[in-house]
Symmetry: C2
Subunit: 486 residues, 2 copies
């Protein structure tokens, strides 16, 4: 039935560029919706490889797999680009239990780049959450060798998503920007150094998540010389421990972190792959698609951001297998280090697009399309305040209303990889996807597993990405940049 419909489209379409576009878009949709690899790609990233903390062995495994997969699909110029990250780390085991006066296994997770404990630590914890930070040193004797409950009981919980649906059922940004991905403003680093200097054995802190959901990040500046082994604990259980100490209950904990700093390869990597342009007049222009493959470490980085990587690889596969002939070059970029501050995309943008030496490359840069926050089908795009760009994005989005596309919005979105390009004045945009519970239960949590990602959305998003790439790569004229008229 669907092949018949496609054949009809091929026969009925008039000649010319518009007809080629319609045919190509129909092929993209057919391939992506009916013979999708997206779920299989997503499953490999989340089930086989698992979490992909930048600089970890699994991160390297993921970029090697992505490159091999893109090569296997016949993409051109597939290669890794390294940039200095400076750390490797692996969590090999941990223990976090209340062992007396009753037993309770704690929901806990070592922070990324935590030093290991020197041994299994058992003892009554010491609570210093009510001490002014500058008076901690005065309690050296109480802290040495102890498990430290470092902060006050958690009474602030993340219960609202940053992006909320409007009356048009579109998410738009609300409130404060997303919390900085890096954990360490200077005071915390100083605090860690103080606890380290005082000989604390381990430090526990509560999450701002609730009911078993924990946000688990880390500071890659942590070393055994400046930090204490640290675990995030479910807020309810952390609060219970503080109350037990307050009530004089002789609580004893067992805590261990088994982790290694790895030095064999401390680079971060990006993966690049292309479908070369076919129009000599514009083949040196680049339509760039991107998504970050690195994740935090306590789940499998499913919605943040394996879904987008699977969609991106699948979009490239669809373009290749459908024989799309873009006029401009379509390039896929799979970034590392996003969670530590957009490191991979920034390294790439700086190397290839910053400064006088890259002035011509900037001219030849057509548009950057990023896919990160949210999950599920692509509803539209953030137009970053660029009305002329929005008009183009609107035109590209129109064919996908029957697949769940809704509309583009003028709003900007922060904290993801398009910023590495917009910072250079280049046009960069991010998808709008479903944001339900993304800030409360999903991203950066111990619960960012496959259940957060609707399988059907993977197909649609790959089709939309491939179609946007194709439309960008065949469009007449330059892409409207911010502050210019179309």
């Amino acid at each position: 039935m669907r092949h018949h419909a496609l054949a009809a489209a091929l026969v009925l379409a008039p000649c010319g560029a518009g007809a080629q576009d319609a045919t190509a878009l129909a092929r993209i949709r057919d391939e992506g919706m009916n013979r999708s690899h997206a779920l299989e790609l997503f499953d490999h990233l989340t089930t086989v490889i698992g979490p992909r903390l930048t600089g970890s062995p699994a991160f390297r495994q993921s970029v090697d797999w992505a490159a091999a997969t893109l090569r296997g699909y016949g993409l051109a110029n597939v290669h890794l680009e390294a940039w200095p990250f400076g750390r490797g780390w692996s969590l090999d085991g941990q223990t976090a239990e209340l062992i007396a006066p009753r037993y309770l296994p704690l929901i806990a997770f070592a922070e990324a780049w935590s030093p290991p404990t020197t041994r299994v630590i058992e003892g009554t914890p010491v609570y210093i959450g009510d001490l002014p930070p500058d008076s901690v040193r005065a309690h050296a004797a109480a802290i040495r060798g102890r498990i430290v409950l470092a902060t006050r009981p958690q009474d602030v919980f993340i219960t609202k998503d940053r992006l909320q649906p409007t009356e048009h059922d579109q998410p738009v940004p609300i409130g404060a920007p997303r919390a900085n991905n890096a954990t360490g403003p200077l005071p915390r680093a100083t605090f860690q150094q103080t606890l380290h200097d005082l000989g604390a054995a381990a430090v526990l802190r509560p999450t701002e998540g609730s009911e078993g959901t924990m946000f688990v990040l880390g500071s890659r500046a942590s070393t055994p010389a400046n930090a204490v082994p640290s675990l995030i604990v479910s807020a309810e259980q952390y609060n219970l421990l503080v109350r037990m100490l307050r009530d004089g209950v002789p609580a004893r904990l067992r805590v261990e972190v088994r982790a290694r700093y790895l030095t064999a390869d401390t680079n971060g990597y990006n993966v690049l792959a292309e479908i070369p342009g076919t129009d000599p007049a514009v083949a040196d222009e680049v339509v760039l698609l991107g998504a970050h493959i690195d994740s935090w470490h306590s789940a499998t980085g499913a919605a943040d951001n394996a879904d987008a990587v699977a969609e991106l690889i699948e979009a490239m596969r669809i373009l290749k297998v459908t024989g799309a002939r873009p006029r401009r070059t379509i390039r896929a970029a799979i970034w590392g280090g996003e969670e530590q501050g957009l490191l991979g995309s920034r390294a790439y943008a700086q190397q290839h697009y910053a400064g006088d030496a890259n002035a011509r490359a900037r001219e030849k840069f057509y548009v950057y399309l990023n896919n990160d926050p949210g999950t599920g089908p692509i509803y539209g795009w953030y137009a970053e305040g660029n009305a002329a760009a929005k008009a183009v994005l609107d035109e590209w989005l129109a064919p996908f209303r029957d697949l769940g596309a809704r509309r583009n919005v003028m709003e900007k979105i922060g904290n993801t990889d398009h910023l590495s390009f917009t910072a250079l004045g280049l046009p960069g945009f991010n998808t709008i996807q479903d944001y339900t519970e993304y800030d409360t239960r999903v991203h950066h949590t111990n619960m960012d597993f496959a259940e957060r990602v609707p399988a059907e959305g993977l197909k649609q998003a790959a089709v939309v990405l491939a179609s946007f790439a194709y439309q960008a790569a065949t469009r007449e004229g330059g892409f409207p940049r911010a502050g210019t008229t179309p």
Copy 2:
């Protein structure tokens, strides 16, 4: 300021029973709202004692503490009543980890009355979730000595509360009745027996909770002779393990359950305490208030049901300290074994109110007021389809609108201790409290900690309970029973 207001009430109130009532109710409110012990009582149950699984040492500790506390407050006839429960059990430790090809601590909890494992078990689990139950025996060789993933991946999650607010902001029952507290219909017992006979080392099953919230119950029929050590695992992680096996990932787990069956005291207990009636004509009539003190074992049984026990003890304290002189006897009953099938209340009702020998006791039974599902302030009561009773409850509730009381509803509510009395034709009613996320995140979960219970609600609920008890114990005439007219 508040003492001045109370003095004014004492002066201005006219003489007679109504005036005595008004004065007594004002004293109750003043004591309960301004000098409450409810939070301290709640904290002792949840922080100091912790979970109170029927038949566990902590359960016995809790009933002894409740009795001592009631005695300390000067209540009369404080005593325990034992009934045969038949099991004692204690969880001393557990391990549940993915150890290869990568490390992941599992959110897991041993089911109540699980047998212990014979040792720490390490190995690749075997997935039998796709086998028809009657074909499991044919796979004996694959199961012996192994960690068994017993069911299909979890794709049904509890995402809706059973009670939903109506347009009047009142919870009313929806949908199916609450899941049976006991885990074991016969098929599961048969399945456990089969796995036991085949020599399975441990069995893992996913929860229907999500994002780190787990429902953890158990079957007290489990023994090392008929069951396998069993743990509930977070659904997302369980599903991941099944996918890893499906994808051929060489996953290895480390699992251990350290548990003991205790035989020194296998009774369940109820705690009784009274304020004797003062009117010789009706002092032998009983107004019974009740709440269950037992809980499941994976959190601290805060909303289910330490809050209600704290409110009940506090209500009795308030009545005692304010010098309330009820005409009828007010009796508090703190039940055990509710979670295993209303065992404590049923034992009590059967012993004291069932059969021909207790006909006169039934006549002298005025009303039973129970407090269990939900948490926070008492909004009203379920009138159990008894319109005449509702009219009385409405009268009693009216003075508490300014404290958050809303209205009584005609609906019935199931699955809690008033059923032990209504089954005998006695009038029994249950509070309406806030039910938000009660079925999805709170009751029977590993997250039923103090954060689920608003501290201000404890005060209000104790005041409403004390006031209802007082009003019931001073009311003129009999309490309208179901099927009778007032």
